[in-house]
């Protein structure tokens, strides 16, 4: 199993690299949405800051007071930014809901994702994945309830414990549990998507049921595929943040932009790496299944006559 997993791990990366145009396209869409979401803010900020000496507070470092002052202005460029970000993020979610079918088709079939094939697969699976999204929302409800209960418990523990650490430890432990649960759920739904694409399964509850069975019997293999790529993501992301915040010159805009975009690219790329690995795992799984033999009549049972015991 370990050798097989290692193969899946690297094969997944190879598949993402092989069909890297998918990563670049999605990244480009994400970046364009990002720019669109900040367009209005940028226009207003340009008007306020481009000819203002006070803007130097942001050029030669990051003086938080400049942000506070901008926030307090009547036509603050920042006040419109929150809703815009949210709108474009939701739009990106819709886009990804659409694109996932095309991405998985490329990975599952291991065929060059031509534009036609990509959009065809994307269109074919959009509503299926939309239904899966609704199922996911239902599944996430109890986990959300767990998070709420954790918060309430934390307040209670913090209230009763003299040690300031007890509450923190509880929250940290609960957060890890919730994170692991979320990973399990995501792997389950990822596998349902793979099944939907690989087997052209139209009924999502069937896909979910089959994916659940797969997950139950191959839990550690699938979980570990997802988790270790997640760990790579988190480490690289944290490293990127560290470089951005602590290592780059505050005056450096170009380097900051490149690092920040690299972080997004890593986030996106590793997510696709997870999907590719899961698709390969499923391909391998199917290939390794011993076909069920055709029905043959079992031989007639052989009976050995037993002599009746003599009656008394």
């Amino acid at each position: 199993m370990a050798a097989s997993n290692r193969g899946t791990f690297f094969s997944g990366a190879g598949l993402v690299w092989q069909w890297q145009r998918l990563v670049w396209w999605i990244f480009a869409v994400c970046l364009i949405f990002g720019f669109f979401s900040t367009h209005e803010m940028t226009e207003r900020a340009n008007f306020l800051l481009d000819h203002s000496a006070a803007a130097q507070r942001l050029v030669n470092g990051f003086d938080v007071s400049a942000i506070i002052m901008l926030q307090q202005l009547r036509d603050s460029p920042l006040e419109i930014h929150g809703p815009n970000i949210l709108h474009f993020s939701v739009l990106f979610v819709v886009f990804m809901l659409f694109a996932t079918g095309g991405i998985l088709a490329a990975y599952v079939l291991d065929e060059k994702p031509t534009t036609t094939a990509f959009f065809e697969a994307a269109g074919r699976h959009f509503w299926r994945f939309f239904r899966l999204l609704i199922y996911l929302a239902i599944v996430l409800l109890p986990i959300a309830g767990l998070a709420v209960a954790t918060s309430a418990m934390h307040t209670r523990i913090d209230d009763q414990s003299i040690s300031p650490y007890t509450g923190d430890y509880f929250v940290e432990a609960a957060a890890i549990v919730i994170l692991l649960l979320l990973i399990v759920v995501r792997v389950w739904f990822d596998m349902a998507q793979v099944i939907a694409v690989a087997d052209d399964e139209k009924k999502m509850h069937h896909a979910l049921r089959r994916a659940f069975g797969l997950l139950r019997h191959n839990f550690f293999a699938l979980f570990w595929i997802y988790l270790r790529i997640s760990i790579i993501t988190w480490v690289l992301f944290a490293l990127g943040l560290y470089i951005w915040m602590f290592r780059l010159s505050p005056r450096s805009n170009v380097a900051a932009f490149l690092v920040s975009q690299l972080m997004i690219l890593i986030w996106l790329g590793t997510r696709l790496w997870q999907r590719a690995s899961e698709a390969i795992w499923y391909r391998n799984y199917q290939a390794n299944q011993v076909p069920e033999p055709a029905w043959t009549p079992s031989p007639a049972p052989m009976y050995t006559p037993v002599a009746a015991e003599p009656q008394a």
């Binding site: 900040t38 900020a45 003086d63 506070i68 993020s89 990106f92 505050p250």
Partner: protein
């Protein structure tokens, strides 16, 4: 002692303080003795006068620093499991009002922690600290103080003569003030003695005082007599935002607690006695203060140190809560730095002790409080080094030893005189210790100075209430905070532009020396500034202190135009462009209703600079220049001194656009947008 300062805007500056102190010790001590005798002088003395006075008046050093009107003797016993206190108090009140007094008002402030009190009503209406209008009532938040028996020497038991009064809002459910009418008046100059048996129920910390786990913060805990002020009794109810005004005197307090409790108090520990029942009784003495508070917890870790100022050594006690020891050096540095700069700039610290209490988790709302020689701060287990919260809270609460503790203004009616002046001195001291641009936040990737933090606070709600407003009549606790702290500090920083930073510092020094151990008013403060600066500043105070005007000057237009614009421009020839004569217009507009003189700096591309001064009274002014150079930049308030200006971005025009600031903002927001997108896309 007031003079050139050994400042460097780096954290190391405070480390050097000790060495510098040694060099100045002789001079400082001599001057300090003179300052210690402050009450004999009607006003502050110049340093050379202080030094001379020191030798002449050394024998007066043992005189009381204040006019001691009250003498409290209290014996209190804490039950740390029930968080209750049983106590007996003897109050000796000396009638220095100049007239017979028959009626005396008293605070019973622990009764504020009841759902129908004025305090809770105000919290429900406008919020305060961590409690908003939606806060739920927790029965554990119930606090009370009950007078079991009240006897007056010579008049007997007058318990049934107690009458709750509600001078501020007619809330008949509020029981935070009572008055007592004696059978016969107390003659001027005579004393009266009250014997009061009372018991307290401490609330679970909801604000300022109470208990959390095994921590008891005991403030506003005893019946305290009001202040005869402006020819009337001044004894306000306990409010959501204010609570302090009392007379100076002496306190002799005996506190009995279990022997495992570690106690901190606003007095000198005179004796400790272990009792046979497993308790200990600690006796404290304090004089020339107007309040007494204490704290107890078996979980405290005591950190001791000392600092030597112009009045001699000061014992420093930090009472650290579990998990917070990493903040102890930070508290200590801030406390020593504050002691040093207050001593240098504003006047001597006359007490021989200061105790800083670090509340435990769950008790943070008891943090950030000031009592005479005892303050509470606040930190957390994971306090980042770059967030200077423990530092500025420590500095702020220590600053109250001056602006509240010694200069004992009426917080109810003129809160800005302690919180506002204190916020200003917080800016100055924090800047001196931690750097002008890094005294609030100091991370490699972001920074924020105290000046701009106070300014940002002011801009939150700049024009709903004037500074000079009775505290409980602000529209909200946010407005109270933004104006009383933020605007007052910002108003004084802007005043530096008018009279100079050194002059304002001298004015604060004079104000402190003249009014310490008294109850001055806002006008006393403002007149002192005018006197020291030698300027009539009414135009400024009327707008900034008594008004709600908002200051906003804007550079409306700045451009250069060829003087002979109708002639064909000689493109491509540098010489001809150099010889071209331009007419430059610079228009400044007053967008706000606050008038303030404005300095304008105009730079041309030939390297020349022109300065203009405008009285700022009209709505706008236009300047015109004809010269062989185009405008490079025009800037109002080039040194960013008019911090009351609500919009610093419209104060300048730089001809060459510099989009780097917007690029930086855009980078961050694009990243935030993309990352949120990626997070949400996880659902798909």
């Amino acid at each position: 002692v007031y003079g050139p300062l050994p400042l460097a805007n780096t954290p190391q500056s405070v480390l050097r303080v000790g060495g510098w102190m040694k060099l100045t010790k002789v001079f400082a001590l001599a001057a300090g003795v003179a300052i210690f005798c402050g009450p004999v002088f009607s006003q502050a003395l110049a340093p050379h006068q202080q030094a001379t006075a020191a030798s002449a008046s050394a024998d007066t050093a043992s005189k009381p620093l204040s006019t001691r009107i009250v003498a409290y003797q209290i014996e209190a016993k804490l039950d740390p499991t029930k968080h209750t206190i049983a106590a007996n108090e003897t109050l000796t009140y000396k009638n220095l009002t100049g007239q017979p007094q028959q009626t005396f008002p008293f605070h019973l402030y622990l009764n504020a922690f009841q759902p129908q009190s004025t305090f809770m009503t105000e919290v429900r209406l406008a919020g305060t600290r961590g409690n908003g209008p939606d806060s739920e009532w927790d029965p554990k938040h119930l606090g009370s103080i009950t007078v079991d028996k009240l006897e007056v020497e010579g008049a007997g038991d007058l318990t049934n003569k107690m009458e709750f009064i509600h001078p501020d809002d007619n809330n008949t459910e509020d029981r935070t003030v009572f008055q007592l009418t004696l059978p016969k008046p107390i003659a001027p100059g005579a004393s009266v003695q009250f014997h009061i048996a009372f018991h307290d129920v401490l609330p679970k910390v909801v604000e300022r005082t109470g208990y959390a786990h095994d921590f008891d913060m005991v403030g506003q805990w005893f019946p305290k007599v009001g202040v005869w002020w402006k020819n009337a009794w001044n004894c306000h109810q306990f409010h959501a935002t204010t609570e302090f005004f009392a007379d100076f005197g002496t306190f002799d307090v005996k506190i009995t607690v279990p022997q495992n409790e570690i106690v901190g108090a606003g007095g000198d520990l005179v004796s400790t006695q272990n009792n046979s029942d497993g308790t200990q009784t600690l006796s404290y003495h304090s004089e020339d203060v107007h309040d007494f508070s204490w704290t107890a917890s078996p979980s405290f870790t005591l950190v001791e140190d000392s600092w030597t100022g112009s009045q001699g050594p000061v014992k420093i006690h930090l009472l650290m809560s579990p998990g917070h020891m990493a903040s102890a050096p930070r508290y200590m540095k801030a406390l020593k730095g504050s002691l040093y700069f207050f001593d240098q700039w504003y006047g001597p610290y006359p007490y021989d002790r200061i105790t800083l209490v670090d509340p435990p988790h769950g008790g943070i709302d008891a943090g950030g409080m000031e009592y005479p020689t005892l303050v509470t701060a606040g930190t957390s287990v994971h306090m980042p080094q770059g967030l200077l919260e423990p530092e500025f809270v420590t500095e702020h609460e220590f600053g109250h030893q001056y602006w509240y503790g010694m200069v004992a203004t009426n917080e109810f009616e003129e809160a800005w005189l302690d919180e506002g002046i204190n916020s200003y001195t917080e800016v100055k001291v924090m800047d001196a210790i931690y750097g002008h641009e890094t005294s609030f936040l100091n991370f490699p990737f972001a920074h924020l100075g105290e000046t701009e933090e106070q300014r940002g606070s002011y801009l939150g709600l700049p024009d709903m209430d004037p500074i000079a407003r009775v505290a409980w009549k602000f529209i909200s606790s946010d407005s109270y905070g933004d104006i009383t702290y933020g605007k007052s500090a910002t108003m004084l920083i802007t005043l530096e532009k008018v009279i100079g930073e050194d002059t304002l510092r001298q004015a604060l020094h004079t104000y402190f020396m003249r009014y310490r151990f008294t109850h001055p008013t806002g006008e006393d403060f403002l007149k002192t500034i005018e006197e020291v600066s030698g300027k009539d500043l009414r135009w400024y105070f009327n707008q900034a202190v008594y008004g709600t005007q908002v200051l906003d000057y804007s550079l409306a237009d700045a451009h250069s135009d060829p003087l002979k614009w109708w002639e064909t421009p000689a493109h491509g020839s540098k010489n001809s462009e150099k010889d071209e004569l331009y007419r430059t217009y610079v228009t400044v507009e007053r967008k706000g209703d606050f008038t303030f003189p404005v300095d304008l700096q105009i730079k041309f591309d030939d390297g020349s600079t022109t300065f203009e001064h405008w009285d700022g009274l009209d709505r706008w002014i236009r300047y015109q220049y004809d010269r062989k150079a185009k405008i490079e930049s025009a800037q109002i308030d080039a040194h960013n001194q008019i911090t009351l200006d609500r919009d610093p971005f419209n104060n300048s025009y730089v001809a060459a656009p510099d989009p780097r600031a917007v690029h930086k903002l855009r980078n961050i927001w694009v990243f935030a947008s993309e990352w949120l997108s990626q997070l949400l896309a996880w659902l798909t």
